[in-house]
């Protein structure tokens, strides 16, 4: 009896593994069905951890994007190419246009 109930419940709801999987990077070929979207909403309405996973995941996406920009701009790192390398490149460029 309990097994039947379990099966019925599992048919209705998504597990946290599934929800976290479906939260990001879903392949284009595999669009979420209407039922899946509803199940996702339902699960997240009851599960604070999966809600947080989604919000925090979004935050980290923004962070990664900013990380790229701030690294390149030199805002958060002052790393530079070695002078030897710069001079080497300049020499090679001059050689290649001769």
């Amino acid at each position: 009896m309990i097994n039947k109930t379990k099966k019925w419940w599992e048919g209705l709801v998504l597990t946290c593994v599934e929800v976290t999987r479906l939260s990001f990077d879903v392949p284009e070929e595999r669009k979420l069905t209407v039922t899946e979207k509803l199940k996702l909403k339902f699960h997240r309405s009851m599960c604070i951890w999966c809600r947080r996973y989604y919000k925090q995941g979004k935050f980290l996406q923004e962070a990664m994007n900013k990380y790229q920009k701030k690294s390149s701009d030199g805002t958060i790192t002052k790393k530079k190419m070695s002078n030897e390398m710069k001079e080497k490149i300049k020499r090679e460029l001059q050689d290649s246009v001769k």
Binding site: P27, R30, R52, G57, F59, E62, Y67, D73, K80, M85
Partner: protein
């Protein structure tokens, strides 16, 4: 009309930018320098086609992006990327497997509440140091795929092609990466904040 460009100035103006752009993706200083070198050599070959339509930096960055993609294409041919079984296991550790309702969060890894504030986090140099550290804790191949995709918003189809991944394997890898990164950031950044 021939666009007269001072090649030395081109290096001085954009070299460090390109270097840092590459470095955050490829992590190795040597490889980043190689990428920049190849970029400039390729640029000088296509100077004719550069008509100043985009800025110099945009033009050079586009070339650099292609060099980085080529680099990872080669890298993924040399390394075995099809390791989906271990990725799956890497994912399962975050979720408990009990007799009853399996698939819910393992208490150890349940997302805690984050006190997010843009000035303290996204504008903070120390935050990005923690982010970098957490990225390096990912297994190499997973880290490479994740960086390629998330740092620059590189199209997921391109990422799959570069690393020779099926959409499904790519999905699993990204899932693994996100779970691991989220957990590491929580432990090393948000949990250490004074409540």
């Amino acid at each position: 009309m021939q666009h007269k460009i001072d090649l030395n100035r081109l290096v001085d103006d954009h070299g460090d930018y390109l270097y840092r752009f590459a470095l955050v993706k490829v992590r190795s200083e040597t490889i980043a320098e190689d990428m920049v070198q190849e970029t400039y050599l390729a640029a000088v070959k296509s100077l004719e086609s550069y008509k100043g339509k985009s800025t110099e930096r945009t033009w050079l960055t586009a070339i650099l992006k292609h060099k980085i993609m080529d680099h990872y294409r080669k890298y993924s041919k040399e390394e075995n990327f099809d390791d989906t079984e271990s990725e799956r296991l890497g994912i399962l550790k975050y979720f408990k497997r009990e007799n009853g309702w399996s698939g819910s969060w393992n208490e150890k890894f349940r997302p805690a509440r984050w006190n997010i504030s843009p000035e303290q986090d996204l504008e903070n140099k120390e935050f990005y140091e923690v982010l970098e550290k957490c990225l390096t804790e990912l297994p190499d191949k997973i880290e490479s795929v994740f960086r390629m995709r998330e740092l620059d918003g590189e199209d997921s189809k391109n990422v799959q092609e570069i690393f020779n991944l099926s959409p499904n394997n790519y999905w699993i890898i990204m899932h693994r990466a996100r779970l691991s990164l989220r957990s590491c950031i929580e432990i090393n950044w948000f949990r250490t904040e004074i409540q």
